[in-house]
């Protein structure tokens, strides 16, 4: 981690802290205070993780006991299951397109909010408010708003002279874009974090850039971007984890529009995301072994992506001496 001069001061106080006579808390107190989490960790995380790893090597339908089948679930998944690959494709799309478009939009709206001298609060509230809407309510609303026949958006588009407005959630080529728009409407939570990051950039840096004669783009490129890179990093990591688990909006839009309950991922499987597929395998068809294998693949991929991002972050994320551990 880069250590700018300020970190020296922080370290100084750390040294003072350490020089204090060390006073260890008795173990029984530590354990007592930790116990809610420790029990929860064992019961709700360690036990289920071990068990689902075991299930992933079995055939298990809830009714009979799990039958060991080795790597068959994984073999089937990678070599024979077309729906698995379809769901992977859709999920990669939402992670690559959905998350990056959302982060760009969050930066744009947050930048806009830093511009005026007056009235930020009102605008900020209006920009942020939609992100508070419950995902189910928002998804239902957008199924209506983006309805090709009577939805207001397509009416606006046709009155603006667009000849063939998109069919949105009724066409496999536009359904995911509908979800992207839904995500942009609820950009507020990401935006607020960027806004805080932008307002934290020291004024002097911009003043120095002004003196050097930097234009607005140069200032953004060489001052703003490096200064908010920790926020970009945070949003990317959380965004990717979120994207891999994308469920509610996709489930709601596809079940509400589909004519039968079994056609998850409507239209034409274009909204069959990984988590939706896993839910269907596990809790509609009760293929607990196969669903567990799907979950473990998801886990490994999420971990790998996060680790790669943390590794590469050292090259482009600039920390201002803020350290996680003290």
């Amino acid at each position: 981690m880069a250590t700018p001069p300020i970190a020296g001061v922080a370290r100084g106080t750390g040294a003072v802290r350490r020089s204090r006579p060390s006073r260890r808390t008795p173990w029984r107190l530590v354990i007592l205070f930790l116990s809610p989490w420790a029990i929860g960790f064992l019961v709700f995380i360690v036990y289920p993780m071990v068990t689902s790893l075991y299930f992933s090597f079995t055939h298990y339908d809830l009714l009979s006991t799990p039958r060991w089948i080795g790597l068959d679930n994984y073999k089937f998944m990678f070599t024979k299951d077309a729906f698995f690959w379809l769901s992977v494709k859709n999920t990669v799309w939402i992670v690559a397109v959905g998350v990056s478009v959302r982060i760009l939009f969050a930066i744009a709206t947050a930048t806009l909010l830093t511009r005026p001298r007056r009235g930020i609060k009102g605008y900020r509230t209006m920009f942020f408010l939609p992100s508070m809407a419950p995902p189910v309510a928002a998804a239902l609303a957008f199924v209506y708003l983006l309805n090709p026949a009577f939805g207001p958006l397509n009416q606006l588009l046709s009155s603006a002279g667009v000849a063939d407005p998109p069919l949105w959630f009724f066409s496999p080529s536009t359904s995911k874009w509908g979800l992207v728009i839904l995500g942009l409407w609820g950009v507020g939570d990401a935006m607020i974090i960027f806004l805080a990051g932008l307002l934290d950039v020291p004024r002097q840096l911009y003043e120095a850039a002004d003196i050097e004669g930097a234009g607005p783009w140069q200032k953004f490129r060489s001052v703003t971007l490096p200064m908010i890179s920790p926020v970009i990093f945070f949003s990317l990591v959380t965004g990717i984890i979120w994207g891999f688990q994308y469920f509610t909006q996709a489930y709601v839009t596809s079940t509400v529009n589909a004519t039968s309950k079994t056609s998850l991922g409507y239209p034409e499987g274009s909204l069959l995301f990984y988590s939706v597929y896993l839910y269907q395998q596990g809790f509609s068809y009760f293929k607990m072994g196969y669903a567990s294998a799907l979950a473990w693949v998801l886990f490994v991929v999420t971990m790998a992506c996060t680790l790669v991002m943390i590794r590469t972050s050292r090259r482009w994320v600039h920390y201002q001496g803020g350290e996680m551990f003290r």
Binding site: T25, V30, L34, W37, M132, W185, V256, T302
Partner: protein
């Protein structure tokens, strides 16, 4: 603004702004506000359309009209008759309140141990807590579901409330970060006065950490209020205990056409959240910011 404040503070009279600069500032300010209003409209219009549609007749909601004519206020009475909305609201409230209570009660002591107590391996345990935040819930949900099946708790509220009493990684993280920022001297002073760790936590740290605790409570309440997957999984077979999230989707799947009522019910679902937001806007925005900048 800060530069000018500095100038006056230093005793230098502010120079009059030349008219050219003034005009340029005016223009850029007009441009900014035009853009801001445009974006504000994009964010607010969907809300308005939901409201308008909720006040239309069934037929009108399926037509290309945007303005309700007449205003059918009775839709809001109708939905309570068509759907057990009150019971959905009650179930949702129960889950949200109890799980929030559980999270706060269980996470404060854990965060305290991870920030205000000195023991070997503290950072290692904190890393474990952090890493569980990245764990996809799918990896644990299948065995948990099976456990709750065996305990005959599917179709009860227990699976949605009980786990909250055993800590939540994100809340622990948030509280721990806040607790770290409280000066150690305050604890030391209390120790000199003979206070136990428990007393220091409840009488010194908790009162000082009210903003962080409020943020944690708010996030957990909203999470539980909005949650869809949990209720779908654990309450799907018991319509009596459906929450607003699941009730709304099921209502929609059963009544295919009534978009006006669907929008009215969606608004009823959103309103408590919006009210909560206006009541606690400061806590909320500070809390979100805390997660992003300190993470």
């Amino acid at each position: 603004m800060s530069a000018r404040g500095l100038a006056t503070a230093a005793g230098i009279a502010p120079r009059p702004i030349p008219p050219g600069v003034k005009r340029r500032r005016m223009l850029s300010s007009v441009a900014d506000h035009t853009l801001l209003i445009l974006f504000a409209a994009m964010f607010m219009l969907p809300m308005l359309f939901i409201l308008f549609t909720s006040l239309m007749t069934d037929q009108q909601s399926l037509s290309s009209v945007i303005w309700p004519r007449p205003f059918v206020w009775s839709n809001y009475v109708e939905i309570f008759r068509e759907v057990p909305l009150l019971s959905y609201t009650w179930n949702t409230t129960q889950i949200a309140v109890l799980s929030t209570l559980g999270t706060v009660l269980s996470c404060v002591p854990v965060a305290y141990a991870l920030s205000r107590m000195e023991w070997r391996g503290r950072n290692a345990v904190f890393v474990v807590v952090l890493s569980t935040m990245m764990l996809p819930f799918q990896v644990t949900i299948i065995p948990l579901y099976i456990v709750f099946v065996r305990l005959h708790m599917i179709g009860t509220l227990t699976p949605l409330i009980l786990p909250a009493f055993f800590g939540d990684a994100f809340s622990i993280f948030l509280l721990r970060q806040f607790f770290m920022s409280i000066p150690e001297d305050l604890s030391d002073a209390a120790r000199v006065d003979g206070a136990s760790e428990w007393q220091i936590m409840t009488r010194v740290i908790v009162p000082l950490a009210k903003p962080a605790i409020a943020a944690v409570a708010l996030f957990n309440f909203l999470y539980a209020w909005n949650d869809f997957f949990g209720p779908l999984l654990f309450l799907g077979n018991n319509p009596k205990l459906w929450t607003l999230a699941i009730g709304l989707v099921e209502f929609r799947s059963m009544h295919r056409v009534q978009w006006n009522l669907t929008m009215a019910a969606s608004l009823v679902f959103m309103i408590p959240v919006i009210v909560l937001f206006f009541l606690a806007q400061k806590v909320f925005i500070e809390g979100v910011t805390l997660t992003g900048t300190k993470g």
